[in-house]
């Protein structure tokens, strides 16, 4: 054992330790971030769930058309964007840079389309008189607070995801990021998709007429 090896063993042992889950540290970091974000959404949805079920006079303002249909289209778009993100990752694994960036761009377009439909829905509701603490059809004003806060938190995640994908796409194109970064931003994007799987039934379908 030479001196440099001794230094590594004695002074910098943690540097040479293997990851406990045999994944890169950045991937472990995004999983831990996802875990903490899942708790955030969990707490918001728990609070909403209790208020929703515990309030007898809760309003159900959403018609099948346009609101529920719009929500179904948004679900289709977001689920499809997960598949396009997977396509980008598959291309990145095959070192096919141009197609990877193409699929990342498609994912961003789908994310923006989702956000546009979401904002259109918000504007329609605001036009009908819905506010954070204002209910135009009578009943608990909490409906607006829960609807706008839950869907707004999710919408912020979608927009943040689009920005993150754009940053990764640009840096991947310049060879300043690699396949691992595409995978990590993909994990975040899929998580946003998973959260919508709870938001759509709990916030939209539970409030359908």
């Amino acid at each position: 054992v030479n001196e440099s090896e001794m230094t590594i063993r004695m002074g910098h042992e943690a540097w040479s330790e293997e990851s406990p889950y045999r994944i890169p540290s950045r991937k472990l970091a995004i999983w831990l971030f996802i875990l903490s974000d899942a708790v955030t959404f969990g707490s918001v949805l728990f609070a909403y769930g209790y208020v929703r079920v515990g309030t007898a006079a809760w309003v159900r303002p959403f018609d099948f058309s346009p609101t529920i249909v719009n929500g179904m289209v948004m679900t289709l778009i977001l689920l499809s964007s997960s598949v396009t993100m997977l396509a980008a990752f598959e291309r990145a694994k095959n070192k096919d840079k141009s197609r990877c960036i193409l699929w990342l761009a498609v994912t961003m377009v789908l994310g923006l389309l989702f956000a546009a439909l979401h904002i259109r829905e918000w504007l329609r509701m605001i036009g009908d008189g819905w506010r954070l603490f204002q209910n135009p059809v009578g009943g608990p004003a909490l409906f607006g607070a829960t609807f706008f806060s839950v869907t707004g938190l999710h919408l912020m995640h979608v927009l943040a995801g689009v920005v993150a994908i754009a940053v990764v796409a640009v840096k991947y194109n310049r060879a300043r990021m690699d396949t691992g970064h595409v995978e990590i931003v993909g994990l975040y994007w899929h998580f946003v998709d998973v959260v919508w799987m709870f938001v759509f039934p709990l916030v939209y379908l539970m409030n359908a007429k």
Binding site: G42, F46, G54, A87, E90, K93, D96, V194, F200, A208
Partner: protein, 104 residues
């Protein structure tokens, strides 16, 4: 070994099949919504569908099934523990529980 151009094709086909499966679950959710169930029954049905959907997405889209089992269990158990504590143990949860309508 398959050429690089075609290597990802089988994986994409399976992702397409998973997407169709997830959309079917969404269809079941919408169908359940208009079955005139009680609020509690509907909530239970929608939560079951949502957890199945999320489980499929986490395992296949996020590839958690391909990671070491220790990662899967660390994440799932930690999340379940925190959500359980938040929902059933912490004082605010007990206060909120009084708002809840009893299922049975």
């Amino acid at each position: 070994m398959a050429p690089a151009e075609t290597r990802g094709v089988p994986a994409m086909k399976s992702y397409g099949a998973i997407l169709v499966g997830l959309l079917c679950i969404v269809g079941i959710e919408v169908f359940s919504t208009y079955r005139h169930m009680s609020t509690h029954q509907l909530l239970l049905a929608l939560l079951i569908c949502a957890f199945v959907e999320a489980g499929i997405a986490v395992m296949y889209f996020m590839h958690l099934k391909d990671e070491r089992p220790s990662l899967l269990w660390s994440l799932i158990l930690a999340l379940a523990f925190v959500l359980f504590m938040m929902d059933h143990i912490w004082p605010d949860a007990l206060r909120l529980a009084n708002l809840r309508v009893i299922f049975w």
